[in-house]
């Protein structure tokens, strides 16, 4: 079942890195699946897609290519948004400061993208 697959993919990510929450979101801002606490995941999903799409438009303006990720570095937490295939993105909440968290998130996003492509 799809829901179980999404759950497993986000569970794997959480097991590998210091992650506080994560969402799989369609590129146009609709929530596909979330593993979060104490937030409104639909709003977080819509805003994450806005972050990534705004970054794409800005990068396009400067001919900078496709953005690999968007990082919002807050006082207490970070939001990391990474494309997961052509139709989805992975948005992650973390307090981790080590840069290796990016690798784990990018790998996870790739897995999600591959999974969604298989489903099509």
């Amino acid at each position: 079942m799809k829901k179980d697959d999404y759950k497993r993919l986000l569970g794997d990510l959480e097991a590998e890195a210091d992650i506080e929450g994560s969402c799989i979101v369609s590129r146009d801002g609709m929530l596909i699946h979330s593993k979060t606490k104490d937030i409104h995941p639909e709003t977080f999903a819509a805003m994450s897609a806005t972050l990534l799409s705004s970054a794409e438009v800005a990068m396009d303006e400067i001919k900078g290519g496709v953005p690999k990720k968007v990082v919002v570095d807050g006082k207490n937490k970070k939001i990391i948004v990474v494309g997961a295939g052509p139709n989805a993105l992975l948005a992650v909440i973390t307090s981790a400061n080590k840069s290796d968290v990016y690798d784990v998130i990018e790998k996870s996003a790739k897995k999600i993208g591959d999974f969604l492509s298989e489903k099509k």
Partner: protein, 386 residues
């Protein structure tokens, strides 16, 4: 009249007349498939008797489900639970009405007849799992029993609802099922990534709504909602898009700086059985690239215009041109200002004579729900026309 509690479905069906039977034919794998319990709750609220036949799991599940939807079980002295489960596993039960022989459909009939004799009034009977009873009692025997039950119920002013998981039963069994129920609504998952389900009215012998479909989702604690994943709100700068969304949404996330929207706004609307997610896209030309990214897959578009600024109508039309083949409504906002143009004139000036225009004063909440309801109905019509 029995209502399903899903306003649009009730509109299609004209409710469920007394004595009729309705089968929710649910594809395996659909989560939250117990639609019958929502119909039960609606009719308990309306003061009718509700008999709930539990055969798939312990009657305690009823407490659990009622809690999930913030329904207070103790409030309903018109609810009667028939325990068809405890005897099966030899567990004690505190329920008054118990199916002593859960492998025998006649035992179900006996209990139901006893209840009907004991109570005075009309109502609804909901079976939590017809498929489970069929597995216990045998397919053909169960269906014969259900035919007898439906016959008796129809004479007593009771309607019946059956939840049925459509495992691969024999063709002859499925054929018989199609024959014995007055209405069959198929429920299945929609095959794309956004989780939602679809109801399809496969059969109904009391209204002309066969073939109609609705997309829905079950929210906790709110209940079943006809679900619209995305409606975009667009329009020129300072036309009142944010105020419009704010006035219809029960949850709203503004992205404003110095009175102007600088990002995508998001709101949720819950109205008359609909749940819609609303995406507001800023109106300055420089934000138009976001339209293509966030606006795609919208099921409908609100084009908000300032009715006092005809000079912006061309740009408004240009924005609308970014959306192809989806329902749209022109929201003629700021009708309270002097020189506000009326809806018909706006349509004419925009060269969109067939468009639907709703005149609004978003700051006062006037006309906004009318616009939403029109849009939601238009989206359902669009779904049914495809």
């Amino acid at each position: 009249m029995i209502l399903t509690g899903i306003p649009k479905l009730d509109e299609f069906l004209n409710g469920i007349p007394e004595g009729k039977s309705l089968l929710f034919h649910v594809e395996p794998g659909v989560e939250e498939s117990n639609i019958g319990i929502h119909v039960l709750h609606k009719n308990l609220e309306n003061g009718l008797y509700g008999i709930y036949v539990v055969s798939e799991s312990s009657p305690k599940i009823v407490d659990k489900v009622f809690n999930e939807f913030n329904w207070n079980l103790d409030k309903y002295d018109n609810l009667i639970i028939v325990d068809g489960y405890s005897s099966l596993i030899g567990a004690p039960t505190d329920k008054k009405y118990v199916v002593e022989e859960p492998h025998d459909i006649e035992s179900y009939e006996d209990v139901l007849m006893e209840i009907i004799e004991n109570i005075k009034g009309k109502g609804i009977i909901v079976f939590d799992s017809l498929s489970n009873i069929m597995d216990m009692c045998g397919e053909k025997k169960t269906l014969s029993g259900i035919e007898r039950i439906n016959d008796i119920l129809s004479g007593e002013g009771f309607s019946s609802i059956y939840n049925f998981i459509a495992w691969p039963y024999k063709e002859s069994v499925m054929y018989r099922m199609k024959r014995i129920f007055n209405a069959i609504i198929e429920v299945n998952n929609i095959g794309d990534t956004i989780m939602r389900q679809r109801m399809f009215i496969k059969k109904v012998d009391w209204s002309d709504s066969e073939g109609k479909k609705l997309e829905f989702k079950i929210f906790k604690p709110e209940g079943i909602r006809i679900y619209i994943p995305k409606i975009s709100v667009v329009g020129p700068f300072y036309s009142g898009k944010t105020t419009f969304i704010k006035s219809i949404a029960h949850k709203f996330t503004p992205v404003e700086r110095l009175g102007a929207t600088v990002g995508v706004e998001y709101g949720i609307v819950d109205y008359k059985g609909y749940r819609a997610e609303i995406f507001g896209i800023p109106g300055q030309e420089r934000f138009l690239p976001l339209l293509n990214k966030i606006g795609v897959s919208s099921k409908g578009v609100f084009l908000v215009v300032d009715s006092t600024k005809p000079e912006e109508f061309d740009f408004a039309k240009k924005i609308l041109g970014e959306f192809k083949n989806i329902p749209y409504i022109i929201v003629a906002n700021k009708q309270d200002l002097p020189n506000a143009l009326k809806g018909d004139e706006i349509k004419e000036r925009m060269g969109l004579k067939d468009a639907t225009v709703v005149e609004t004063i978003a700051t006062e909440g006037k006309g906004v729900y009318e616009a939403f309801e029109l849009m939601a109905n238009r989206i359902v019509e669009d779904l049914n026309a495809r």
